[in-house]
């Protein structure tokens, strides 16, 4: 991905994931980081995306429905025997 011109905040918020996933070229990464130096809003936005990821990491893995687990277990027992 090659970015054409100076980045506006509107562009930054769409590039945050690419930035965090290491998907920007070295030049674009630099451009992105330069913007953050003078823009408190985007700096905070990036921080909030990081907090969002951290919090989502703490969401417990959903429970698996017990009836479904039971029927899979039966299939497992049937297969073994």
């Amino acid at each position: 991905m090659r970015l054409a011109r100076e980045l506006a905040c509107r562009d930054i918020v769409e590039l945050v994931t690419a930035y965090l996933e290491d998907g920007l070229s070295a030049a674009d990464r630099e451009r992105f980081e330069e913007h953050l130096v003078f823009c408190d809003g985007c700096d905070r936005y990036l921080e909030q995306m990081r907090l969002t990821i951290t919090a989502t990491n703490h969401v417990p893995v959903e429970d698996f429905p017990p009836e479904l687990e039971q029927s899979l277990l039966e299939a497992f027992r049937g297969w073994r025997s």
Binding site: C42, T54, F76
Partner: protein, 208 residues
């Protein structure tokens, strides 16, 4: 390109092969809910998704003897679920084309456009309503906040929900998600971006 299974995976695979119920329970606890979420990407109802997981599980049992560990156990499991669900969706002609299954409109913005200055302004595209600081970190990880996130994930289009669940709740790498769901790197990133942006918006509403 032989890959060696992690010790944990090797232990689970051996356990499944010999019919060890503890291995079964460990796999279900870890991946069961994620398997259901992936199944729901391709079929229209939760009930059908549960059938898909059952069918996929039979496929797992059939294939475990031949599983060679070229991918991790979880990638292999999720591929089987995804393929079973796709076949089921096509067979029942119930599923929409993958792209229509709620990736969202292509230009759905991460942030409400009203929060940026318009084209007539001196700095078009810059914040007019920048994000406000959030409540202290203690609250970020509180049970109620996590519930806000869970609810928002439930409301996402199924493909986005599957990607964010695998990446950020279950800790899959992007490569693992791409392999399991047959997504390109770029596509995976776009889906993850939309999902995370929506969750951030939900948190913003709750925490400011």
């Amino acid at each position: 390109m032989e890959q060696i299974l992690s010790p944990e995976d090797a232990r689970l695979v051996d356990g499944l092969r010999v019919g060890d119920e503890a291995a079964f329970a460990a796999v279900m606890r870890e991946y069961g809910a994620g398997m259901l979420r992936v199944a729901q990407m391709y079929v229209s109802s939760r009930a059908v998704a549960e059938e898909v997981v059952q069918e996929a599980w039979l496929g797992v049992l059939k294939g475990i003897g031949r599983f060679e560990g070229r991918s991790s156990l979880k990638t292999w499991l999720f591929r089987i679920v995804a393929n079973t669900a796709k076949t089921r969706g096509i067979r029942e002609a119930r599923s929409l084309p993958f792209s229509a299954l709620g990736e969202g409109s292509p230009d759905e913005p991460a942030v409400d456009p009203d929060r940026f200055l318009g084209e007539g302004e001196r700095f078009p595209g810059h914040w007019s309503a920048p994000p406000q600081s959030w409540a202290p970190e203690g609250k970020l990880l509180a049970q109620e906040t996590l519930t806000v996130i869970e609810r928002e994930i439930e409301r996402l289009p199924p493909v986005q929900a599957a990607v964010i669940t695998m990446r950020d709740v279950q800790g899959f790498s992007s490569e693992e998600v791409c392999n399991a769901l047959d997504l390109s790197e770029t596509n995976q990133r776009v889906l993850l971006h939309r999902a995370r942006s929506r969750v951030r918006r939900a948190l913003e509403e709750y925490l400011t």
